[in-house]
Point group: C2
Chain length 187, copies 2
């Protein structure tokens, strides 16, 4: 829903609402944040937030994805191997910071929205990933399909982070190498 309204005043409001939501999530944890609090902190009417997002989960989901796409953009390093390795290392760095795991928990907590809202919220990130894979195909490389990137790179990194298991650059390297070895991608 939000993507139809970017630009001008609407974009400024959206950005201040996300900033307020982000600060509140950091201060109180994702489960304790309410719509009226976000509205107050952002200096907007709660009714307009309800109109635009329906509920706080939907807003928090958009906020978390917006943060991901802007703060953690996808690399453009000139080869699919370099791109995937760099991206995996950024995820490793992210899950090992003090703040980012809070936004990962926010994504999970907000995942109670309906499936179509989940996909709509994730769409900007999926677009970034598809663009990275497409750049590789244009260069004539054999890039893995999106689903294999999810299965063999994102899923293990994030599942380990959730379970509190070790997530480091050695793992990032190993997962990337294995992903590219499947069906000879990266060649």
């Amino acid at each position: 829903m939000s993507s139809r309204r970017v630009g001008g005043r609407s974009a400024i409001v959206r950005s201040s609402v996300f900033a307020a939501a982000s600060e509140l999530v950091m201060a109180k944890g994702p489960l304790a944040v309410t719509m009226p609090e976000i509205a107050q902190r952002a200096g907007v009417a709660a009714t307009s937030l309800y109109r635009r997002w329906g509920d706080v989960s939907s807003l928090l989901l958009d906020m978390a994805v917006d943060r991901l796409t802007r703060k953690w953009p996808l690399p453009d390093e000139g080869s699919i191997k370099a791109d995937l390795t760099c991206w995996a290392r950024r995820i490793v760095a992210g899950v090992n910071t003090a703040d980012e795991p809070t936004f990962l928990r926010t994504l999970l907590a907000a995942w109670s929205v309906p499936p179509e809202r989940q996909m709509e919220a994730l769409a900007p990130r999926i677009e970034q990933i598809e663009a990275m894979l497409e750049r590789s195909r244009v260069r004539g490389e054999k890039a893995p399909p999106l689903e294999e990137v999810i299965d063999h790179l994102l899923a293990p990194l994030y599942m380990r982070a959730l379970l509190g298991l070790n997530v480091d650059d050695v793992l990032a390297e190993r997962l990337t190498t294995r992903l590219l070895a499947i069906d000879g991608a990266g060649a």
Copy 2:
């Protein structure tokens, strides 16, 4: 915490509390269930639930893992390949039922408990998995380590389920084959 109290009256109470929590989660979704409601439905005092679990997330987490370990036990098919294939197919069957995804969402929603509580709650399931891998090693097979099972089997299956992507027996078979191909496990 619960594992120290199994047996006798305590086990009966625990089982009726989980049954009540499970019914409420199915009826209302995990985010809407409260401790007093569970207590009332199970016919116990809410104070005893607070004393034993602290908060509703902690209780729901134990309930979801208890359901997993009892309703979806791990296979014992005589070889690691047969065990992993059978287990992957059971996960596929589970995520494609009407009810089980609600319990997956419950696990995520309840994941806001402290990390040490998360690990304590998961321990019974980890024990089942370790026992399956150990049976394989005792037979002289080269079973994959637990972390590789998480990375290459559980993570992709559950991440796909969360994202609403296709989860079927073909995928189960492919993931199992690839997991066993790593370092020549399963030989």
